[in-house]
């Protein structure tokens, strides 16, 4: 399916729960409502016309007013890709886990939980993944984070350029 066909199928199936983004990229990009996140993702995997059986990337993003979870899906059956985003509130960001749908989401979610503090509800193994064992300095990928041995980039606009 091409970009328009995927967008049309998702829009007819879920209506206002899916917001389609207009981008210049070849793959379609959608926002999904958080309460229908699991339902939509299961549909994306099981629908024979979409058949996104592979989650190849997952990330957290910290915007000034919200968190986002971005997942990249691909289908080796139909050779198409899709980007799914979900908005989370800035305080107590929570979202259900995808590790029951795509096994690959397990470690991606552990990474996002550790670096951004996003809670993935129902995760089967919510241990820290990357940071060292006695880490207790918070979530380092959040904006404005500081910690030991952290040197922020000096503001070059305030003079002293090279």
């Amino acid at each position: 399916m091409n970009k328009d066909q995927i967008e049309t199928r998702l829009a007819t199936e879920f209506g206002s729960a899916v917001e389609i983004l207009k981008t210049r990229f070849p793959e379609p990009m959608i926002y999904v409502a958080t309460d229908k996140y699991i339902e939509i993702c299961r549909f994306l995997r099981d629908d024979p016309y979409l058949a996104f059986e592979f989650l190849f990337s997952m990330a957290g993003v910290h915007y000034p007013d919200r968190f986002e979870v971005v997942i990249h899906l691909s289908s080796s059956k139909h050779i198409h890709q899709l980007v799914v985003k979900a908005k989370l509130p800035p305080e107590n960001p929570k979202i259900p886990t995808l590790s029951g749908i795509w096994e690959a989401a397990n470690w991606y979610e552990r990474e996002a939980a550790e670096l951004f503090g996003i809670v993935f509800e129902g995760h089967p193994d919510p241990r820290p993944l990357l940071l060292y064992d006695d880490w207790n300095y918070g979530y380092p990928m959040r904006k404005g984070w500081t910690g030991p041995d952290f040197i922020p980039m000096p503001d070059k606009s305030k003079g002293a350029d090279e």
Partner: protein
């Protein structure tokens, strides 16, 4: 280069053989500098240059240098690459396991001072000299094998300048 003429030897030719006269200090330094086995610490892209230096085109072997996979057999620790905080503890443990005399060579910008990860980075140690003493720094990102060879020669120069009375400085006072 410089291997034979730096050996502080005096060879007296007599019929049927020869006598070699040297100082104990010179012999120690010469033997230490001539078989500088290194603990390979390939942490990032600098490791590729280190492998190239160890392979046949540049060839560490001609300086008597071999890689050792165990710190207990190594004299020189080459820190080649980005030292993260997670790795820093392991480096310290391995450095403590090396037998004296031991030397450290920091290769590349990351091992010298954090390099490209100096600003806005939560995970990278700002230079391996924060945890262990470093003898020779090699700048570059990554340095070419020629630079690494020169760094190895600088370590040898340092070894040649050592005095026996300074060797005791490595032993803690409780053991002397």
């Amino acid at each position: 280069m410089g291997i034979i003429e730096k050996a502080p030897l005096y060879v007296e030719k007599i019929p049927g053989g020869g006598i070699v006269i040297t100082s104990a200090e010179g012999l120690l330094n010469w033997s230490r500098a001539s078989s500088l086995w290194y603990l390979l610490f390939g942490l990032a892209c600098c490791a590729i240059e280190m492998m190239a230096t160890g392979a046949s085109r540049y060839d560490f072997d001609r300086l008597g240098m071999f890689f050792r996979a165990s710190p207990r057999q190594a004299d020189l620790m080459m820190v080649c690459g980005t030292v993260t905080h997670k790795m820093a503890k392991r480096i310290k443990i391995l450095y403590d396991q090396m037998a004296d005399p031991k030397y450290v060579l920091a290769m590349g910008g990351c091992a010298c001072d954090g390099g490209p990860f100096y600003y806005d980075c939560y995970s990278v140690l700002k230079g391996v000299d924060k945890i262990i003493p470093v003898d020779v720094y090699i700048p570059g990102c990554p340095p070419r094998p020629e630079s690494l060879l020169q760094g190895a020669l600088k370590v040898r120069e340092k070894i040649y300048k050592e005095k026996i009375k300074d060797f005791a400085g490595d032993i803690p006072p409780s053991q002397t």
